[in-house]
């Protein structure tokens, strides 16, 4: 019997994994991009944080992830921080109302929130850059990206849980509760 890792290993693990996946997102993941579609592991981690981390600590981690995303994506600084915060809030609200423990639900959340993420991004870019015209096939792209993120979510959930579990094993407070 193993208990759920405490908040600190989870927060640290999610942040480290986010940093690692963000770097991979600019390198290895972009090599397997399907045109405009690519792997987006950070949104998966945001959803994971929203469902598993406590409110305040989760906010910090998610804002860090947004910051990292803003840093390496080269977009408008602060945009991902806001969007990830919104996504995180939605997850926290869902966590209070729904049973979010099942993986299919989490995958569905990732898919839906990916679409929301991109809609917010497109809206923000449209507001900040007047000359920006969203692509005509934006709905299709959003749907495809949502599906990709939803179906790859278990992989990143799993990676994150592995790192969190590893950190929990060495975390001083965790050693007492983990057999």
């Amino acid at each position: 019997m193993r208990r759920e890792p405490s908040r600190w290993p989870r927060a640290l693990g999610t942040a480290v994994m986010g940093l690692l996946l963000a770097v991979l997102g600019t390198t290895a993941f972009s090599w397997w991009a399907l045109g405009p579609l690519r792997l987006e592991p950070l949104i998966v981690l945001v959803v994971s944080a929203g469902y598993r981390l406590p409110l305040v600590l989760g906010f910090i981690v998610v804002m860090f992830l947004g910051y990292v995303a803003d840093l390496i994506s080269g977009g408008v600084m602060g945009l991902n921080v806001v969007i990830f915060t919104v996504v995180y809030v939605i997850c926290q609200l869902a966590r209070r109302k729904l049973d979010i423990t099942s993986w299919p639900f989490q995958m569905l959340s990732v898919g839906v929130l990916t679409i929301l993420d991109h809609l917010l991004t497109a809206g923000a870019v449209t507001l900040t850059v007047p000359s920006y015209v969203p692509p005509v096939n934006l709905p299709l792209l959003l749907l495809a990206q949502g599906l990709i993120n939803a179906f790859t979510a278990p992989l990143f959930f799993g990676l994150n849980e592995a790192l969190v579990g590893m950190l929990a094993r060495f975390w001083p407070a965790e050693r007492k509760v983990t057999p």
């Binding site: 090599w31 390496i72 408008v76």
Partner: protein, 275 residues
């Protein structure tokens, strides 16, 4: 305190959302270099990115080289096939050219003949070493019948010994069983040319008094009724005076290269025999 506990969630959410928006407002339009923390973070992530990119480039390079090799190998195979096809086409073209030349000679030869003829291709040669026969692809349905003479552009070839509806068998001049009445073109000396070992012809029944020299051309006499008169048979290649008998021993090199016999003309003149 109770108020905070009661509205903890919306207060915290509101604070963080406002904080995020404030950050967005503050940092929007500013470069990364204006944000110290970002600079350090990039310093942290940069080497990792470079390392991953380097590893990725290495794998990519290996992958591309592998594929390049595979593609080069495939291209090599394709080019080899194309080269083989082109070589075959060249051979085919050369064959056509050679066949064209041969047929042209045959045509010229045919125009000099006063007989109806049938052109045929050699489709088979005799499997035994003792006999010299070939199969042609024209037979009785084309008017090819036994005893009809067969010639080619170079000269006399032989005669038909049997025919089926679409094929016929020829007895070549060089076969030991073959014999044709001939004359030496220069001296008009007369004899019979028979097949001899080694693919040569032997001129028989030529008496000592006849004038025969090396290089003399030997042609058909037309006397036996098989061949028309004047078809080249060969060239005298050896003359010996016989020690025991009245005849000279004359060897003739056939005008036709029987080893390369491909197209022939069958003279439809059997009626000559009947006359």
């Amino acid at each position: 305190m109770n108020f905070f506990r009661k509205y903890r969630f919306p207060i915290i959410v509101g604070l963080f959302v406002l904080g995020a928006l404030a950050y967005f407002s503050f940092s929007a339009g500013k470069g990364v270099e204006r944000i110290p923390a970002g600079r350090y973070l990039l310093e942290l992530t940069g080497p990792v990115q470079r390392g991953i990119t380097g590893v990725g480039d290495w794998f990519n390079s290996v992958w591309r080289h592998y594929f390049a090799l595979v593609q080069a190998s495939e291209e090599n195979d394709r080019l080899k096939n194309e080269l083989a096809a082109l070589k075959q086409r060249t051979v085919d073209r050369d064959e056509l050219e050679l066949a064209n030349r041969r047929l042209k000679k045959l045509l010229e030869f045919k125009q000099n003949l006063d007989y109806p003829i049938v052109a045929a291709e050699v489709v088979g040669t005799d499997p035994s070493a003792q006999f010299k026969t070939v199969i042609i692809n024209k037979g009785a349905s084309h008017g090819v019948l036994p005893l009809m003479p067969v010639v080619c552009a170079q000269g006399a070839v032989g005669r038909v010994i049997w025919s089926s509806p679409h094929y016929a068998k020829l007895l070549l001049l060089i076969d030991p069983n073959s014999g044709v009445d001939v004359i030496v073109q220069r001296s008009r000396a007369r004899g019979v040319a028979e097949g001899a070992p080694g693919g040569e012809l032997r001129l028989k029944y030529l008496i000592h008094t006849e004038d025969v020299r090396l290089g003399d051309k030997v042609i058909t006499s037309g006397a036996a009724g098989v061949y028309p008169k004047g078809v080249l048979v060969g060239t005298v290649s050896a003359v010996r005076q016989g020690q025991d008998g009245a005849f000279q021993r004359v060897q003739i090199t056939p005008a036709v290269d029987f080893g390369r016999l491909e197209e022939v003309l069958v003279l439809l003149r059997r009626r000559q025999l009947d006359q």
